[in-house]
Symmetry: C2
Subunit: 302 residues, 2 copies
DNA sequence: TCATTCTTTGAAGCAGATCTGAACGATTAC
DNA sequence: GTAATCGTTCAGATCTGCTTCAAAGAATGA
């Protein structure tokens, strides 16, 4: 028996509740004949008699009671599926798979998940760490539903492509320089003022080019004295007077408690790093995805 | 959505495994056309899109993955039902409801259930205590599958009726009399020798008449001096010299440790009490029921 | 005991759904 | 650019299930 029929199981269940074929037919808006046929059909499929005559009515056999237990479980499961799908349609259930770069996970995704748990308990988020390029591949392949990536420029919100992108956060880049540096107290610090300094390049992946890009936009080519993947290492080098660095305000907040480092805002044409959320074209219409997007937005303000 | 179709869920599951409509169709021995139609049909029923185009293939949506989890559970449940029904057909699964008189439960049913648990773990027994008359009503109404009752005569094993009866045990009745009674040492004790003794009638239900019936069969009318429902009370009265009594050997084994009571076998035309198992006509062919019957038989020999 | 009534079951006809086969649009590989 | 692959759509054929009608079995009442 490989081809199960839910309707037959429902008929069996109703027969068990009502006790007679006729009453079952009334409840299910069928004729007694149809009920009888379906049940004998089911019995033939399972290979075991389900009904036996008892006076002018029928009685369920042991096999029928056995089958009934499973039928109840199956029908209950289907009702749950129904309810969850209804919730899904309203954006109150479902799973959203998020691909995010490493530092975004604790800074954005985790707070968003936490907020989501309160506001939309039915929505679950599955996180997968992925750098920008990979994240877009995953997004295109359908392995994630939402990708978080970094970029130096805000994306043109092109609607014609395969993705829809929105900027979650435009984090300004501040300059980290030694506390006793002559420029540490300048009134209006501009990037060009640091043209002759030794620079410490940051980060991994696409981020490693951000310092060079920003400096070139300011009109000079920076001298790459050092480079490091983590912000803490970079700030340590700054503190030691080994150079200056561009640090996203989000990452460098408080300079990790290093008193020898001065964080200075840039006065003009301040470079920013953009945290971009991308979904497949059309997916932003999904209520579930849009709830996750809203939660991520909220996390940028916390 | 109230009308679920298992076949559609299987198609969705296979599509998830194989990844393409064509491969799914091959596995399920269908045409890609049919697969496509069934899936779009399912999506329409659910009210949420399940597939979206991805290149020249399709990808499952979040709703599809949500539905898939439930589909897996449902299909697994159905496979279990299938397995259990197959086991049921072989008599290795199922539930047998037994109606039994009170003293049969510890003496016969419990040992049988214990033995059954080892030999046929899939079979479960549901016990319901019922006196003889009630047990047969329950059996006729289909509320139990097997009835245990007591009778003074072995049933004629009539096959034409509604029930099939078999004698599980023909327990001889012994005479309990005070140890110092003159007849306590007679060589061949017959019931007629006790015609002038005061009798203690036993038991409840149909059993209360057994003493009278046996004595009348022996040619005299017993004097009912006392009566009690429990064998222990009866033996206490015998020990006190208040009368003699007929006691089933099974019930009176060891005379409950009363040294003042002598248990004597009857020499001739010894009356017996019969423990009878009855099933509805035809039910003895059920492997499950016959396994329980065999276990009950085995319990009579232990 | 007989008739009535209720229940279930069976046969024939019909309606709906599903499957097949071919054609089309779109995408990928060579 | 061309050919092959994939998914979908449409029309026709087939199948399953439902309804109507009819009959048989079993319980209730007189």
């Amino acid at each position: 028996m490989t081809e199960w029929d839910i309707k037959k199981l429902q008929i069996l269940r109703t027969l068990n509740e009502r006790g007679t074929v006729t009453a079952t037919a009334q409840v299910l808006l069928m004729t007694p004949s149809a009920v009888s046929q379906q049940l004998s059909n089911l019995a033939k499929q399972v290979g075991v008699p389900l009904l036996e005559a008892h006076g002018r009515r029928v009685r369920l056999t042991g096999a029928a009671r056995l089958l009934l237990r499973h039928a109840d479980a199956v029908l209950a499961q289907l009702e749950r599926a129904d309810a969850e799908l209804a919730a899904y349609a309203k954006g109150e259930a479902g799973e959203v798979r998020v691909g995010a770069f490493a530092t975004a996970v604790p800074a954005l995704v985790v707070p968003a998940v936490r907020a989501l748990r309160g506001a939309h308990p039915g929505i679950s988020v599955r996180v997968r760490e992925a750098e920008a390029g990979e994240a877009y591949d995953l997004l295109a392949a359908g392995d994630v539903d939402l990708a978080l990536s970094l970029a130096a420029q805000a994306p043109r919100e092109f609607e014609g492509g395969r993705f829809t992108q929105v900027t979650l956060l435009a984090d300004p880049l501040d300059v980290a320089l030694p506390r006793d540096h002559p420029l540490a107290r300048t009134a209006a610090l501009r990037l060009a003022d640091l043209a002759s300094e030794p620079w410490i390049f940051g980060g991994s992946g696409p981020w490693s080019e951000i310092t060079r890009t920003a400096c070139e936009a300011a009109g000079f080519v920076p001298e790459q004295a050092h480079s490091a993947a983590g912000w803490e290492a970079i700030l340590a080098m700054v503190e030691a007077g080994m150079g200056v660095a561009l640090v996203p305000r989000m990452a460098g907040a408080g300079a990790f408690g290093r008193s020898g480092v001065a964080m200075r805002e840039l006065a003009a044409d301040r470079p920013r790093r953009h945290v971009i959320a991308a979904v497949r074209r059309g997916a932003e219409a999904s209520p579930t995805v849009s709830h996750v997007l809203a939660a991520l937005r909220g996390a940028t303000r916390a």
